[in-house]
Symmetry: D2
Subunit: 300 residues, 4 copies
């Protein structure tokens, strides 16, 4: 239980509903900032603003999964306008306050550093990234079905990268009957790809492998689908770039060649906000409980 | 090869492009009716109308997958207006002419009978229905991802019916990590469901099973999801009714209860017109070759 | 419940233990013939002989899964000698008595006909045959692992026949990572094989397909793996003939060519007697309940 | 190519045949020690003894997968007696000589150190360990089918450990229709287990989870299946201990309780020596080529 812990939630999308629900059942004192259009009545939850919330007592601040943009604005679907997180507001909160965010850009890291608050990046964690890979893969499936005129079944799908998301995507498309090839660098990843009955492609053979693909799904956050690589692709190929902005694709060149290439950020929040929200809520409640116990000086 | 065979294609959707492509490579003499907006130039293919085509020499007529509506109109996406198939036009064609259609309603059956032409219903064939089940299942996957806020992975999916389409849908959702239950009547189908590691539900237990489902996908062309059954469902359930019109769902009652229920005809043409078209083209060319050989009096 | 019903079980293997256990819990009066070495004490169960059992009161006789041999002998692992089922013994039982057996040869059919008793062949039933296909497939997996020096993973497995057993075997080996091809005659079976992401082989292409196989598993009860076909196989191939005796393989020719070919009857009883016994017991109890209700004149 | 490279292979099992075959095609000069009973004639391969081989020219020594025992003996199935690897023999070989072995015990490490030769432990490599996990998992499947009287399908299988072998075993049994639970410590492994549609069990819940298992497969090389854990198991459970000797099971206690527990070393060599040998040969040839190029001073 988190009885007595004071937490502010600043903006976000549908996923935050599950966070609010979970923290409310744990008896947290919750203050919502940027939720003026939210109707649901949760126990122990109050709508506030940066001005009206009692900064002195706050133990934690929860930002949207995407954190803030370069102006420090936290997006919110529950209000008409974004919420600007300011360093001087944070400065008023207690020293022990922690900031929880999905991902953190430079702006957010600066704000945190200057206000001397510790910042927890949830999406850096392998466990959450793996849970998140499930709705991400389903989002990719949806987009491929929408944007091709053939079935996934028996089509050639090339996945670049075999990390937390790449593994899930590769398996998911194989389970739908696609012929899946996976590009990776390390020998042990290539061995695992082989064991999983997918076709392993060493990174330096990408150029050759790409020419047979009907669909290319990139998960490598680096400039991997260069113009040279795209030049080798079939005309009808669909490129789905899953990697975080700006993706790993030369979109200009793809465009010139008339190849359909889509950058697809935020799939979990798009296709399964409830599932993604529950995953987030589970992890956040575990971390907050740990913080709360530490703060109170050990397990009670 | 179909050299010399004269075939008219009357209307249709993107799937017919693959039929035209295939028959053109087999050297068929093709006359397109209702394709005035089609640009692609295929070898040996001419645009015609009911008036300009030479009826005396026709060997076969190919209708859209959906056949004609109750006014005898064949829909076409390649022209501004539908093409009306008339009995008196058919009467002018040779006795041996065959009419190929996906499905046939009463109107079409009447027209065929009165003009004494034999009518081939392709979707009645088990093989085509099974090939078609693949894009149908992918269409169902796409719709479920779009219309729920949770992942298919670990959700409870109930499939009613375990025929040509039901089997494919059940397997597909299980491969995506759903807990799949399947409703069937026959003991041998229940055994196969068990063997496939799905949960078998005898038809008379439908009422109980339905209460745990997050998604219900109906493939039984009979009034199966009655108000009594729907009354047992969870509020957040999504009903996908795959069965041919009018489906098997009491949509009025679902609507009253605020349950989201969708009738989803024509998924293959929607999500994978090329794959579905190729399947159609393969079968049609096999059947036309058989007709052509028979007509010419045996294999040459 | 089967309270009052009098049933004789004549010989059998470990599977009968599960039948005895199940029928005993249903309160059947059970007489065991040919079980003198069985120790387990089940409630309401008595050891008898053909001579000491009270024939007048018997409602049903249960034979081993394999029925009797051509001498009318029922094998039994629970006694030193087989039990001979005689027509004149059966003649003494009531007219309504039913004989339950797995399979029935000519001898058994004659005995039943002459004593005017109805004979139920359980293995003819699709449901039991499908349940049985599960331990059968696992038996095949075990034998292939034992008798090859390569992994099933990535090896070429050819399955002939896609009936109740063939489907299960094909899926099982594919799930272990084999490249599975399946030979079938009907177009709709070939379509299902394609949908299941296996390689469909029309029966008339068997000769070509066989040359790439590392393992051939036959489920067709006909002379299919002839010397002509075997001549096309690789030297290192393993043939597993699952079809009932005498199988579908020219074992002499295989032997001459030095090709390893095994006839593998009775896999379920061999590898999973408990599972197979439970399946049998489930079905038998359903059928006996139906008989008992009919006999007593309708449901009570 | 390895033209000119001089390699001695000392003992081993059937897997070495594939190593010999591969290195022979690469034109290596091969000396076999302890292969007097091997008949196959490979090109460029000579039978030798420790005495007759020309130590001065050797570039590499290949030991059996199991290395040597505590007496320094390398087992061999191709000779009547083991081959004793002696430090003073090694001392005579060139400084640059490398010793390749599957695993290395203390004895072998000592011998290598004292003779100042570098020692390469192949089974330490993630890639080979993953390739090896495939025949290992098939060996486990074979043993479970042999040693239980139920099917793997629908049985409860608990796998402890989710490393290179554990992952493969867990997936393999799930693909055969078992309900698979996997015990792991790290949160990210538990997330991956969840994503793969298996049941994740945190290590500290092992005690509870074990009570439902029909089969327990241990891959953790630590004393994990203690008497306390075994005490919670069902009577009919089968324990397969895959971990390297002495395994992680209290075999004495299991024995006392009448629980069937098997230590199963060397599965790949047992069930798929050819596949395992090819994997080994692939890796060895890559490593030898690298050594050869380095030795000759860069790529030519
Ligand atoms: N669109 C969405 O909705 C969505 C959802 C989730 C994640 N994502 C994004 O997807 C991307 C992948 O996420 P993840 O969790 O799978 O990350 P990850 O576990 O770190 O995997 C990244 C993979 O890319 C490879 N890689 C990285 N840099 C490389 C380079 N320069 N050259 C070649 N390979 C390289 C890595 O291989 P090595 O290990 O060998 O470096 C690894 O296989 C991230 O950008 C993430 O933000 C997007
Ligand atoms: N939406 C789309 O895009 C799309 C695509 C393809 C097909 N479809 C439609 O989907 C439906 C199913 O097609 P299919 O090819 O799978 O047909 P199918 O092979 O005939 O299967 C129908 C299933 O429904 C069962 N069934 C039929 N009538 C029943 C009744 N009165 N009560 C209980 N069960 C009953 C059948 O069981 P028994 O064998 O025991 O009767 C069988 O399991 C059809 O209406 C078809 O037109 C729609
Ligand atoms: N070894 C064991 O432990 C074990 C266990 C279970 C079963 N079995 C045996 O395995 C065999 C198969 O059993 P099942 O239940 O799968 O039978 P099934 O459902 O009848 O399937 C038999 C298959 O063989 C095909 N077939 C039959 N005769 C053919 C012919 N002359 N030419 C080409 N194809 C032919 C059938 O195709 P069509 O439908 O087109 O005819 C069907 O695909 C039986 O002999 C059975 O006794 C053995
Ligand atoms: N019988 C055979 O034929 C055969 C074949 C291949 C391998 N093996 C043996 O199988 C074993 C596993 O091999 P592997 O390649 O899978 O090794 P691995 O990749 O290192 O995996 C070992 C697993 O055990 C866990 N683990 C290790 N020590 C632990 C401890 N004290 N407490 C809890 N968990 C612990 C590891 O978790 P952490 O990462 O969290 O430590 C990891 O999940 C080895 O002993 C290997 O020699 C046997």
């Amino acid at each position: 239980m988190l009885t007595g812990m004071q937490v502010a939630i600043i903006g976000g999308d549908l996923r935050q509903i599950e966070v609010i629900r979970k923290l409310s059942t744990l008896d947290t004192s919750l203050y919502l900032i940027g939720f003026d259009q939210l109707d649901d009545g949760f126990l122990g939850v109050e709508n506030k603003t940066f001005e009206t919330v009692d900064t002195d007592l706050l133990d934690a601040v929860i930002l949207p999964v995407n954190g803030v943009n370069h102006n420090g604005e936290a997006d919110t679907v529950f209000s008409g306008h974004p919420q600007v997180l300011e360093e001087k507001w944070l400065a008023k909160t207690p020293e022990h306050l922690k900031i929880y965010t999905g991902i953190a850009n430079k702006t957010l890291k600066n704000i945190a550093q200057q206000s001397e608050k510790s910042l927890v990046e949830l999406m850096n964690r392998d466990d959450l990234a793996i849970y998140n890979s499930i709705p991400t893969a389903e989002g990719a499936v949806m987009l491929v079905i929408q944007h091709t005129n053939v079935t996934i079944h028996r089509s050639n799908v090339l996945v670049t990268g075999f990390g937390r998301v790449g593994q899930t995507i590769a398996r998911t498309f194989a389970n739908l009957g696609a012929h899946v090839s996976v590009v990776a660098k390390e020998r042990e990843l290539l061995a695992r790809i082989y064991e999983m009955n997918l076709t392993p492609i060493p990174l330096n053979s990408l150029n050759d492998a790409v020419s047979e693909a009907d669909v290319v799904i990139n998960t490598i956050p680096a400039h991997i689908l260069t113009s040279t690589v795209i030049a080798k692709m079939q005309n009808h190929v669909l490129i789905l770039d899953i990697a975080s902005k700006p993706g790993g694709t030369d979109f200009n060149f793809a465009n010139k060649r008339g190849i359909h290439a889509i950058l697809t950020p935020g799939l979990p929040g798009l296709v399964a906000p409830k599932t993604a929200g529950i995953q987030l809520a589970e992890l956040l409640s575990t971390l907050l409980e740990k913080q709360w116990i530490d703060q109170k000086g050990g397990r009670h």
